[in-house]
Symmetry: C2
Subunit: 209 residues, 2 copies
DNA sequence: ACAGCCATGTAACTCGTTACATGATTAC
DNA sequence: GTAATCATGTAACGAGTTACATGGCTGT
């Protein structure tokens, strides 16, 4: 649709972004290293593509002249290393300057299940949310470690801001889930499970037309 | 991988969930109506599938016996209506009861761009975040309307909880983005754009090994 | 008569995943 | 020697999108 010559997916730009952070004096990154970097950082705000996609994506960037691949053969080990090119950096900057940015996409299996938890009752909803709290804590710990490794250096200012954003997000989620757990057990109610409520089933239409 | 006979995608279960909320006395929903419902609610926590996918997905559910399709021909207008079956509801409940739930996936183009904003400077980062604030406000307004339509009815308790969760999420985002905007313009700094910082480029490796 | 909504579907394609296949190097 | 990690790739498939094609019904 966008007629700026060949168009890249957001994931391509994300990988290009990983290459740009590698810096000029470096000999470049192997696909393997790119994947590791993606696992460490990209996964929190985007996705970490599968290894196979990393390789095909890097080859694509090279084909478009946005990355240079240098076949590196020190002993015997084949290891292709990729660096961002001037053209690649130019394209990345163009992309960053684009005024129209898609709204974030959230795929939230926990919220989706909570939505329908009337079918299975509050006990299940509770364990669902508690499980999510555990996952959140573990994710937060991972991200906190990343944040720590970024430090306060001026050159890593933006990555640090994004990491802080992520930590704040996890904290907000945890806070809200705690609140929901409270709502799930109102003051006077005993600990006994009242069983599933019916979702308006056979009790008239839920949303009146 | 999961050997519970034919397995459905989360999107299938989400659509099944839309059907279950339609309630027994209803004649069922058309694909068109399912899509509209998805646009109104599902999109906030999952995705709203394309029309074409809604139709193929509903047909799939019918093929598996999880939804019944009644070809409805009142005048001439062909309109296939779908209702969830007992088997469908059973499968949905099984899915809801599953202990292992995937961690949410966030695709955040704004955070992704902020991460690399060192390449284009704080001015661009600012407009990026301000644009996001606008989008957030509009999204929040949409969701607030949905929340309003849910009211305080006991039968819609869970959907209401999820809507409140969503509103809280949008508020957290807005609060954090404001904070980031403040960080982007530190106290003493003048309004002049200092230009792009280099991301550790030609200034030694960013992450020391 | 024409626009806009209701309604359904097929075809081609993209993005991304898992499974598979291969092999070198390093640490114990 | 053998397990873990480094390293690269292909093939098959699934999920989801856009583009396309079709047509009835409703209000102005």
């Amino acid at each position: 649709m966008r007629s700026v010559s060949q168009d890249l997916s957001t994931t391509s730009y994300a990988l290009l972004g990983l290459l740009v952070f590698d810096g000029s004096p470096s000999p470049g990154m192997t696909g393997y290293e790119v994947k590791q970097r993606a696992d460490k950082t990209l996964r929190f705000y985007w996705v970490s593509p599968a290894m196979s996609q990393v390789y095909t994506e890097l080859e694509r960037l090279a084909r478009f002249g946005l990355a240079s691949s240098t076949s590196d053969v020190p002993g015997q080990r084949r290891a292709r290393r990729y660096k961002i090119t001037a053209l690649g950096q130019q394209r990345l900057e163009q992309w960053l300057a684009q005024p129209e940015v898609d709204f974030p996409t959230l795929k939230h299996p926990v919220a989706l299940r909570l939505l329908m938890s009337g079918l299975v009752g509050p006990e299940r909803a509770r364990t669902l949310l508690e499980g999510y709290l555990d996952q959140l804590a573990s994710r937060r710990a991972d991200l906190l470690q990343v944040r720590g490794s970024l430090g306060e250096a001026e050159s890593l200012r933006y990555p640090a801001m994004v990491a802080d954003w992520g930590l704040d997000y996890y904290d907000s989620e945890a806070r809200m889930v705690h609140e929901l757990l409270v709502r799930l057990r109102p003051a006077g109610t005993a600990a006994t499970d009242p069983g599933p409520t019916n979702l308006g089933q056979s009790a008239g239409p839920v949303s009146p037309r």
